[in-house]
Amino acid sequence: MSEPIIAAEDVVKRFGEITAVDSISFEVKAGEIFAFLGPNGAGKSTTISMLTTMLRPTSGKLMLNGHDVTKEQDSARKSFGIVFQDPALEEELTAYENMVIHAVLYHIPKAERAGRIEELLKLVDLWERRDSYVKTYSGGMRRRLEVARGLMHHPKILFLDEPTLGLDTQTRNLLWDYVERLSRREGMTIFFTTHYLDEAEAVADRIAIIDHGKIVATGSSVQLAKQTKTETLEGAYLELTGKEVRDETSLSNDGLNVRTARRNERLR
């Protein structure tokens, strides 16, 4: 298992004049829980968009499960599941119907669909509510449904882009419970971004910190603290990324996904 399951090599993404991701390289081992931290607009979502084939890198090489992300898109796509930053569910349909669409999109054989959907909805405790419209779901239920959906095709890697944003503590804990169990039971690799440092500290095996499009440090939370001669992950994080507040500029088509940072006034 020495071959990394995710590998980025000198990846650059420019939007016109602005460089959102500036020559980053990193590797994630199979089965690892990997956290990607950074201030708003540091390049986290742009990196996830590139890893998940939605954005084409300006230059550099991205490998997922042995497949080149830009050249073997379909093989790369079959290797991962994703929970997007903004819920990507069809609200006018029921949870079950959403799962069926996903199963078809990922070519799950018809004979296996019903069983797999039942198993997953039970895993995230939504089986009883399978026939309710998604628009009647709470934020936490939607997230759980998205996690279940992302697991449908037995992906080797699960991407979670700020999966706990806007969720209460109970739901956050529950969600991370699922994720950790999955990682252990199925050896699934987890790649997630978050703004909650306590989550990264508690869950992640390894953490990368990105700022201004560059990876400024990688290691376990203990290593990061040691490296920066601080006590905690938060200390290390602030030491590495500074205390300035960032102003985000939206760059992407949909205005939600890809952000870059501009320096703002210093905090007094």
């Binding site: 968009s49 998940t52 084939t53 939605m54 954005l55 084409r56 898109q73 379909d74 093989s75 796509r77 079959k78 994703i82 997007f84 903004d86 819920p87 990507a88 569910l89 069809e90 006018e92 349909l93 119907e97 069926v100 669409i101 996903h102 078809v104 999109l105 990922y106 070519h107 992407s252 088509n253 949909d254 205005g255 939600l256 996904n257």
Partner: protein
């Protein structure tokens, strides 16, 4: 095939479940039909042109399909801004199939809207010149539905927000509609209007509908069908080209 079907089915389910949308989309053309058909009917008759309702129905059906197509484009924009498009775009299926499933769904909805308006028109007293020719009208409607949903999908791929879409609506769709001869005959219109109408592909569609429904034509059916065919091909090429370039 499975993928195209499931994406089509999603559009159908959404449509059937939102009754207000069904009513809203049909209400407007019916209003046009009633207000203009009865309101201007007597003037039209006095001018020696016969029954205005007969004249109006083909144009109103085109209007229904046109506005339904625009509405559908907004739906794609919604998917783009609020997530579901991403779910479709990161799946291991080609963009072409995603586009086809969605566009066929949109086209089916528009077609049904057009049929509803046709049925209501018949209830209001409209009589086609020859029921057998009506089958050709249905084919023309299908072609128009395909052209417009493709156009809508292409536009939604380019435009970034709802205001932008609204602008296009005002600056493209309304002029296309009013210059198509849907509401008035193109014979004896001033030269500038005639030139604009002749440059408008929608005019030929209205004309084809009128020929097959009430046996009146301005351009001749052959010319109508050639223009319609070219329009469908161009719109589809536009949609495929733009949809392939969406990056999220």
């Amino acid at each position: 095939m499975d993928v195209i079907y499931i994406l089509w089915l999603r559009q159908m389910k959404r449509y059937v479940r939102s009754r207000s949308r069904v009513l809203g989309a049909i209400g407007q053309p019916i209003l046009f039909l009633l207000a203009l058909g009865y309101g201007l009917g007597s003037v039209y008759k006095r001018a020696g042109q016969g029954n205005f309702l007969q004249f109006l129905v083909p144009g109103i059906i085109v209007q229904t399909i046109l506005f339904s197509g625009v509405f559908w484009g907004i739906q794609i924009l919604f998917d783009k801004r609020f997530g579901f498009l991403k779910e479709m775009l990161v799946a291991p299926v080609s963009r072409l199939r995603v586009l086809l499933g969605n566009a066929l769904g949109g086209a089916t909805i528009s077609f049904f809207q057009g049929i509803f308006v046709l049925v209501i028109s018949v209830a209001l007293g409209f009589r086609p010149y020859n029921w057998a020719y009506l089958l050709v009208s249905l084919l023309v409607m299908i072609a128009l539905c395909l052209a417009l949903t493709s156009f809508g999908a292409g536009l939604a791929s380019i435009v970034e927000d709802f205001q932008g879409f609204q602008g296009i609506n005002n600056f493209i769709i309304f002029p296309l509609y009013f210059l198509s001869g849907a509401l008035y005959p193109l014979t004896n219109v001033p030269t500038f209007l005639r030139i604009l109408s002749e440059a408008n592909p929608l005019s030929y569609c209205v004309d084809a509908m009128r020929y097959t429904m009430i046996h009146q034509t301005h351009f001749g059916l052959l010319k109508d069908l050639i223009v319609l065919f070219i329009t469908v091909v161009v719109c589809m090429a536009f949609a495929v080209n733009r949809f392939n370039r969406i990056q999220a």
